[in-house]
């Protein structure tokens, strides 16, 4: 069993340096380095085909990297600590002819848990998720969402110290997405380190303590959600009380200001919004609504990945 309480610490459960992987001539992952704190939720974000799954597979020792090295749970070979890792792959896999209970017990047995204990835990955990009735059902009788939850329980049944979830939210309805988020937080609170890959930014923004953004096989960002969002300036949304002549107003606003549905949007200037407001009020445009907001992770992601695309385009 692992730490019962979560406390700030700088122990890193996963450290990867310069990981690289080629499939033939295709460079799937290129010089990716990561360090993941113990007891944190770490997001691996990226567009489709960015190299997220390949990176995760290398971290777990499913495939060998062509370059680089990594340490997982203090082991140089992840396979040596496979029994301390739980894994939900992107492409879900269960035997259709097995019951949900036996499927979970089988996954536990592969990680060193006895079949009997696996079955007992399967019943308890399915019950906790409101899926107790599905325990004795064959997998082929389960809905896609239920089967996915069964597989998730299978990945967690042996109380792993490191949990790797590859696109865990895909295919789940909103209710089950909420359940999954709660489950992930509970595992983090138990002390487990969680790596999750996703391209749904809302989940990552709510869950992740830190994240890496991968695009084109390369790591483009590493840091906290707040640090990612801070890459973009604060966004001002301004709705005038009196529109007046748009050209006159545009001359008062910053050059990057855009108008949409009667609302102006522009980046917050270094000297704040007050000088601009004074000018607008003096010009009798007034203020009907004003909001200053930090860009969300989605905007930061688009910005980072877009910059990566531009960079790649320029190089080619």
């Amino acid at each position: 069993m692992i730490r019962a309480s979560r406390e700030a610490n700088l122990t890193h459960n996963v450290v990867a340096e310069g990981l690289g992987k080629n499939f033939g001539d295709y460079r799937a992952v290129d010089d990716v380095s990561l360090s993941i704190r113990e007891g944190s939720i770490f997001g691996v974000l990226g567009p489709n085909g960015a190299g997220k799954t390949t990176t995760l597979r290398m971290l777990m020792g499913i495939i060998d990297p062509d370059q680089g090295k990594c340490s997982v749970l203090d082991a140089a070979r992840p396979r040596d600590v496979a029994h301390r890792i739980g894994y939900l792959p992107e492409e879900r896999g269960l035997y259709p002819s097995m019951t949900a209970r036996d499927s979970i017990a089988f996954m536990g047995a592969l990680r060193g848990l006895s079949w009997a204990e696996g079955r007992r835990r399967a019943d308890v955990r399915l019950e906790a998720l409101g899926l107790g009735h599905a325990s004795a059902l064959k997998v082929r009788k389960l809905s896609k969402g239920m089967a996915q939850m069964v597989q998730l329980v299978g990945a967690l049944v042996h109380d792993p110290e490191l949990i790797v979830l590859d696109e865990p939210f895909s295919g789940l309805d909103p209710v089950n997405q909420e359940r999954l988020e709660a489950l992930v937080r509970a595992e983090r609170d138990r002390g487990a380190t969680i790596i999750l890959s996703t391209h749904v930014m809302a989940h990552a923004q709510r869950l992740c303590d830190e994240l890496a953004i991968i695009a084109g096989g390369q790591r483009r960002f590493l840091g906290s959600v707040e640090q990612a969002r801070a890459l973009l300036p604060m966004l001002v949304r301004y709705r005038p009380r009196v529109d007046g002549h748009l050209d006159d107003m545009a001359q008062l606003l910053p050059a990057d200001a855009t108008r949409q549905d009667g609302e102006w949007r522009f980046a917050l200037a270094d000297d704040g919004v007050e000088p601009l407001l004074s000018a607008l009020v003096a010009a009798h445009h007034g203020v009907e609504a004003l909001a200053i907001a930090r860009p969300d992770l989605h905007d930061a992601f688009v910005h980072i990945v877009g910059a990566a695309d531009q960079s790649a385009g320029a190089m080619s």
Binding site: F23, R57, L59, I62, I63, Q67, A82, Y95, P96, L110
Partner: protein, 409 residues
């Protein structure tokens, strides 16, 4: 988790997933459905019959002054009939008793041409009648020279008590062993590859690859199917053994011929060796099938790969059949040395050759090849299952230079 622990987990799952289903009954009864293979066996049986006839012979033990007359008469009669090979002995040099114990001797003529005594394996046999005709011919030639018109010869027939299994019957037993091993490996090989296709299709294999060493997964799959195979064998052994016991109890003597059939090496050793050779054949062929089958991604690809796999199996079967039908020939030696046909061919050898030491050598040789095959197949399996990493380091697969010193995870 170590290789053997994970292998047992995978083996247990595979075993129960096959055995605890209604379709396992179909599998269990598959030999009945595969009776069509008898047609395939027909070719071998034909060869077997020829081989059996070739190994039988007849003996004439006659006074030395009549030897040349018997040889000449035999040469003449062979132009119009096709009796078994004749071995001539002068009566002062030969003893009937020793010849009578040779199971390949089907009839013996002794005495003289005028008063022949004929011992035959089966009453009224063609071989016995031929020897009588031979004696009659020699006797008539003698009377012709003496211008005598009396009956030349009156043969006295006796039946030789059966003292052992003929070489032909033993060869038949060997062929049966080859056929049984082939049938089992064909059934189980298909099952193994089919299960792997299912796992690749439903992506369970990635979970297993993440949780356990792929070597363990590979061995687990082999062991799981081996368990199924042993259950299969136990079922049929119990069924056949029970049937024989029942028939023997109900109608004693009905199975007399069958029960007197004895492999040259004796039943206990034959059963032990056949079991060991089955294990060897399964591990050798099963690992090849699993390694090759892992290269396929879809059921269609599996079907495509099944064809060469089946050809390979049939080729090994044919080679081993040839060995069973013609012990001691170069083909038999090739079949016994070639690792993938060796288990079949050596099982057949146990039926016709009493020596034990060749089996010790063969099993050691096969064990070496099992290790080599599994090691190679695991690499193929790993490369095929994950389509990357750890596969065969073929030059055309490694296009990017790998700084090995840097790789640590």
């Amino acid at each position: 988790m170590n290789i053997w622990a994970s292998a047992l987990v995978v083996a247990r799952r595979d075993f129960t997933s096959i055995v605890l289903t209604p379709t396992f009954l179909l599998f269990l009864l598959a030999p009945l459905l595969m009776i069509g293979f008898a047609a395939l066996g027909g070719t071998g049986a034909g060869q077997l019959a020829q081989s059996a006839e070739a190994s039988e012979y007849i003996v004439a033990i006659v006074p030395s002054e009549q030897l040349s007359a018997f040889v000449a008469a035999d040469a003449g009669l062979r132009n119009v009939s096709n009796p078994p090979r004749l071995v001539m002995r002068a009566s002062q040099d030969a003893r009937i008793g020793a010849l009578g114990r040779d199971p390949n001797v089907v009839a013996i003529l002794s005495g003289s041409a005028e008063r022949p005594r004929i011992l035959e394996r089966a009453p009224g046999s063609y071989a016995g009648r031929y020897l009588a005709t031979l004696a009659e011919t020699v006797a008539r030639q003698g009377l012709a020279r003496a211008a005598d018109t009396h009956a030349a010869s009156s043969a006295r027939f006796e039946t030789i008590a059966s003292t052992g299994t003929t070489r032909a019957a033993q060869a038949g037993l060997g062929y049966g062993a080859v056929f049984a091993l082939f049938l089992l490996s064909l059934l189980l090989g298909g099952q193994t590859v089919g299960m792997l296709a299912e796992e690749k299709g439903n992506k369970v294999i990635e979970i297993m690859a993440a949780a356990a060493p792929l070597e363990g997964v590979f061995l687990g799959k082999l062991l799981g199917m081996l368990g199924v195979a042993l259950l299969f064998i136990a079922f049929w052994a119990a069924l056949i053994g029970g049937g024989i016991a029942l028939v023997s109890a109900q109608a004693p003597g009905t199975l007399g011929g069958l029960l007197s059939l004895t492999p040259a090496i004796g039943w206990p050793w034959f059963i032990v060796l056949a079991t060991l050779y089955f294990l060897s054949a399964f591990l050798l062929l099963g690992s090849v099938f699993l390694g090759v089958g892992a290269q396929a991604n879809t059921v269609r690809e599996i079907q495509m790969l099944s064809l060469p796999i089946t050809f390979f199996q049939v080729a090994m079967f044919s080679l081993a059949s040839a060995a069973a039908n013609a012990p001691g020939t170069i083909w038999a030696n090739v079949a016994q040395w070639l690792p993938w046909s060796s288990p079949f061919a050596m099982a057949a050898r146990g039926a016709t050759d009493a020596a034990l030491w060749p089996h010790v050598m063969a099993l050691s040789w096969q064990a070496l090849w099992i290790a080599i095959t599994i090691a190679l197949a695991v690499r193929l399996f790993r490369a095929g299952v994950l389509r990357s990493g750890g596969g065969l380091a073929l030059p055309w697969r490694r296009k990017v230079t790998t700084p090995k010193a840097d790789i640590a995870c």
